[in-house]
Amino acid sequence: ALELAEELWDAGLPGDLPELEPECRSLLAAFAEGSAALTGCLSRRARPVRLCQGCHGHYHRLLAQYGSIARAVGNSSESHNCAKSILTSDRLQIVVTLLEFFNETWEAANCANCLKNNSEGLSNSTEEFLDLFNKSLTCFEHNLQGQAIDLSPNNYTEVCKNCNETYTKLNDLYNHLQRMNRQGGESAHSAHLCIDVEDAMNITRKLWSRTFNCSLPCSDTVPVIAVSSFILFLPIVFYLSSFLHSKQKKRILILPKRIQSNASLVNIQEKYS
């Protein structure tokens, strides 16, 4: 880190500018390193998504580094405050922008959801889920290896049969987690689980129902058609029967007390016919 700071000093800044104190410089350098590490981690774990599992350490370290920048006070005087000189002295404010980006990404990924409250490691439920997830993946692999000999890619009955238990467990656990989460959180944002869990489930589900074609719902079209046509038929019966059997409502005309209503009516009709 020190070399990096030296390098920065040599390349970027003319020696005579007393802009940055050495403490601040080292803090900045640490932040640069931390953000580089986090960026690398995030990109490497983008697909399949393993952000929260793999990068939470980096993220929290970066947060700590930023915190020390924000808190650090240069020892010479109040005016040479590191926070001031690093964070707010120019228009771009790159450190703040970077940190905002990481924060937003972290929020969007909802990683807090599968970490422990003190942010040290994954929460128990997440561990359990990932265990189950790995188990089902292994199950898929095992059974596929056996099938590869058959060379019939559309026939995955073996997988479906053998892994059904694990898959159902996984699915149930996921639904359970989701429900728990929805009850706990109020706003719409926290309705999501963390991206790792969501993506893992997504992959499994896609494999299960798209690739293996395992979840074949029983389509009972005939009873549905029968019941629905029965219900749709009811109004016709109702309207016909009320048309035929119900007594039509008659209105009793009242004779208005008027003079020459005949004449006036004729008048109207003559004029506008």
Binding site: P217, P223, S228, I231, L253, Q260, L265, Y272
Partner: protein, 802 residues
């Protein structure tokens, strides 16, 4: 009497016979009604009027007697219900202040300061109207949200269970049964307890503000039924919204609070007694309607304009300001209560029951090139709206004629609920439009035959409350819906909504219209972006909004208030211009075919509704031809027995009686002295204000205006007032209680002139006098409302007992 007999037999035939019968009559009469002939005919009659006017009750009895003897010879005067009728059921409200001596006394007694407190009370009442309307809106919203959520969760769990195991027909049955039973409860309370709570209530409030007294329309019982009915019909999954009924609810609240008592609960709080008059109540009811709109859409200005456009026929700027106050209070109340309920207290950014969400992303801007497209959408909306109204017209006619028994109405509502569920289920079942669950905010994602982790996109439209579906259509990102899904949805929902409106459940048409429009608008937007190879400006959400505006405008034909309501609900002023254009086009195109839904329902209910102007081609009609005659008059000092007889005569259920000079000499002309109302007479009889009793110096409190107000608005019927045989011979002096200066018109006044006077002043009775100030006839609301501009020129509606 030959005169009368001839009249009776003629008009009896006229009403029943069709064209050929009338044609035969026309030829000889044409000669008689020429300019000269009419004059000579007119000169004959006054003598008979005079006689009738003086000995009115005797004549009237003979008249009705003759009627009865004549009737058996004619064909019975029964016709099936049609739109060209005026019902006798509806009466006018007394908007004209009766300036009798009691009124003057009271005014003298109340000093200036007291009038100032009256003014303050008006503001207090408006604030209370706003608060209570907002609270009712909150209540409806929260209950609907929870109950509908419960229902959808149950059905969803059931469907999920049976998708795996098979037997989805049970889910269908469960859904249909749940819907039908919930709707059954909603329909039973409406059909059996308070039928006036059916529908959106906007036509009824419109009539009320026009001056028509719709029985029961502003009672507490109606409010309770309305609120429960709305909740049940929305939870029951019908194609309805809860926004229209809010307007009715607000009006009832306003009418109730301003009176300071509830006759349903038999409780009088002894406050606001000054406002126990039709005139005052009307002003508050318009404030309540505005508060209702503003609670429903979060549109306070729109609410005021709605009251102006649809309701208040009588208007001034102080009233406007007060109404605006009530609207604002209502939105604010709804806002703050809902913010507490949703857990972010005092965040006042979610106004209204329906919130269209924000339209301020980059893609939502519009350019001048899109204006013609919007206008085209307006045309489509107008045509579809006209189609909707025409279909609903036939359906409503059928319902009035054949489905008039409450049990049948309940069965019908249940069937519609079951079919709505079935159609939704079948659409979802048949749809193969699957969207990934991730990243979407679907409340109840139904998987059905989609792959795991995906949901059926048809289900977001059908398997949801209509409000949520509208917002989804506005804001879901492009690509959330298949064109096929949207097309099928539009088609089905169009017919379902059309079928649903007019059922005996309390429910509004705003949201279904918006939903239909949003669906086809989005479809339009999708095809547009397909045609233009995915241009950035063709965002489907924007077109969904325009389609919704066009469809709603095409159905209800409101212009100004709807533009502002849409603008306020989207929170985007820049959309004002395109929305205005769209609504304008929709109205013009729609009016070319049929009239608006609310006007149509008012007509079908045979309400004597007075439009802004008399029919344009009616200047040749004079008051003489328009008025009813003979008039039952009372003398200034009248025998109690005569009054009782006149009031209990069921064949002539009059409400206002001209008071004429009480001259025993019958040969002299009977000049008009004033006008007295049935309600006043009943109060007089009840308190036995007889001349003899006053002469006997019986210790008797002088009658005050308060006695009349206490009886308002439900005056006891004449049958409940006991008048002994001795008292029948007493005399009653009306001069103190009658309105000494009723509005009158000469016989020669043209119909538009009479109409203007009547409409502008909100009259109930307009006396027609000759040049000697003798009563010749009486013009009431039904006499004026029966002339209407039809397709072949001026038409005359007939009166009917309904």
């Amino acid at each position: 009497m030959a005169n009368v007999a001839k009249k009776v037999s003629w008009s009896g035939r006229d009403r029943d016979d069709d064209e050929d019968g009338r044609a035969g009559e026309t030829t000889p009469l044409l000669n008689g009604t020429g300019p000269g002939g009419a004059g000579s005919a007119r000169q004959l009659t006054p003598s008979s009027f005079l006689r009738i006017g003086q000995l009115s009750n005797v004549d009237l009895n003979e008249d009705s007697h003759e009627l009865e003897t004549e009737l058996p010879r004619q064909r019975p005067n029964e016709i099936p219900h049609n739109e060209k009728l005026l019902s006798l059921k509806y009466e006018s409200l007394d908007y004209d202040n009766s300036e009798n001596q009691l009124f003057l006394e009271e005014e003298r007694r109340i000093n200036h300061a007291a009038f100032r407190t009256v003014e303050i009370k008006r503001w207090v009442i408006c604030a209370m109207i706003g608060i209570l309307t907002g609270l009712v809106a909150c209540f409806i919203d929260i209950v609907v949200e929870n109950l509908a959520g419960l229902k959808y969760r149950v059905v969803k769990d059931n469907i999920d269970k049976f998708t795996a195991k098979g037997g989805l027909s049970f889910s269908l049955l469960l859904w249909a049964t749940l819907n039908a039973s919930v709707v059954m409860v909603g329909s039973v309370i409406v059909a059996f307890i308070e039928p006036v709570a059916a529908g959106s209530g906007i036509p009824q409030i419109k009539c009320y503000l026009n001056g028509v007294k719709i029985p029961h329309v502003v009672r507490l019982k109606t409010l309770v039924i309305k609120v429960c009915g709305v909740i049940l019909s929305v939870v029951g999954g019908l194609a309805v919204g809860k926004e229209g009924p809010m307007i009715h609810s607000g009006s009832v609240i306003a009418a109730g609070i301003s009176q300071g008592r509830s006759t349903s609960l038999k409780r009088d709080f002894k406050i606001f007694e000054y406002f126990r008059r039709d005139t005052e109540k009307r002003d508050f009811v318009s404030a309540g309607a505005a508060a209702g709109v503003s609670a429903a859409f979060g549109a306070p200005v729109g609410g005021v304009l709605f009251s102006l456009e649809e309701g208040a026929s009588f208007w001034n700027q102080f009233l406007t300001w007060r109404i605006f106050f009530a609207s604002m209070i209502s939105t604010f109340t709804l806002n703050s209560v809902l913010s507490v309920y949703h857990g972010n207290a005092w965040d006042l950014s979610s106004p209204g029951l329906i919130n269209f969400g924000r339209f301020d992303s980059e893609k939502m801007v519009y350019t001048i090139q899109e204006i013609p497209i919007f206008i085209f959408m307006g045309v489509v909306g107008g045509i579809l709206g006209a189609l909707f109204n025409a279909l609903n017209y036939w359906l409503t006619m059928f319902r009035i004629r054949y489905i008039h028994r409450p049990c049948l109405q309940v069965v019908e509502a249940m069937l519609v609920a079951a079919v709505t569920a079935t159609v939704g289920f079948v659409m979802i079942y048949c749809s193969r439009d699957c969207q990934p669950i991730q990243g979407s905010s679907v409340a109840y994602p139904l998987q059905l035959f989609c792959a795991d982790g995906e949901y059926n996109s048809m289900a977001t439209a059908f398997f949801n409350t209509p409000e949520k579906s509208v917002v989804n259509l506005f804001h879901d990102p492009p690509g959330s819906y298949n064109p096929m899904t949207l097309g099928m949805f539009t088609l089905m929902y169009f017919f379902l909504a059309c079928w649903t409106y007019g059922l005996t459940v309390s429910a509004g048409v705003f949201i279904p219209s918006l939903l239909i429009g949003a669906a086809w608008g989005r479809l339009f937007g999708i095809s547009l972006s397909y045609l233009t190879k995915g241009s950035i400006w063709a965002d489907p959400g924007k077109y969904a909004l325009m389609g919704a505006a066009a469809q709603l405008g095409g159905i209800v034909r409101m212009t100004l208030s709807l533009t502002v309501i849409m603008m306020e609900a989207t929170g985007n002023v820049t959309y004002g211009f395109p929305i205005m254009l769209v609504l304008m086009t929709a109205k013009i195109v729609g009016d070319y075919f049929v009239e608006g839904l609310y006007d149509m329902h008012i007509q079908l209910q045979s309400v004597p509704f007075l439009h802004w102007e008399a029919p344009v081609t009616s200047h040749s009609l004079t008051a003489r031809e328009v008025m009813s005659t003979p008039v039952t008059c009372l003398r200034r000092i009248e025998r109690v027995g005569t009054v009782v007889d006149i009031l209990s005569d069921t064949s002539s259920n009059h409400n206002g009686f001209p008071v004429v000079e009480s001259n025993p000499d019958t040969t002299q002309v009977a000049r008009l002295r004033g006008l007295i109302l049935r309600s006043q007479l009943i109060v007089l009889l009840k308190h036995k204000v007889f001349v003899e009793r006053a002469n006997l110096n019986l210790v008797q409190r002088r009658l005050k205006l308060k006695d009349f107000r206490d009886a308002y608005p439900r005056f006891p019927p004449i049958q409940s007032i006991h008048v002994s045989q001795d008292e029948r011979d007493c005399m009653i002096d009306l001069s103190e209680f009658m309105n000494p200066s009723p509005y009158t018109v000469p016989q020669e006044a043209s119909l538009p002139r009479v109409f203007k006077l009547f409409r502008a002043l909100g009259l109930r009775h307009l006396v027609v006098v000759d040049n000697r100030n003798e009563v010749v006839g009486m013009v009431t609301r039904k006499d004026l409302a029966r002339y209407r501009l039809g397709k072949e020129g001026l038409e005359e509606l007939s009166l009917a007992q309904t």
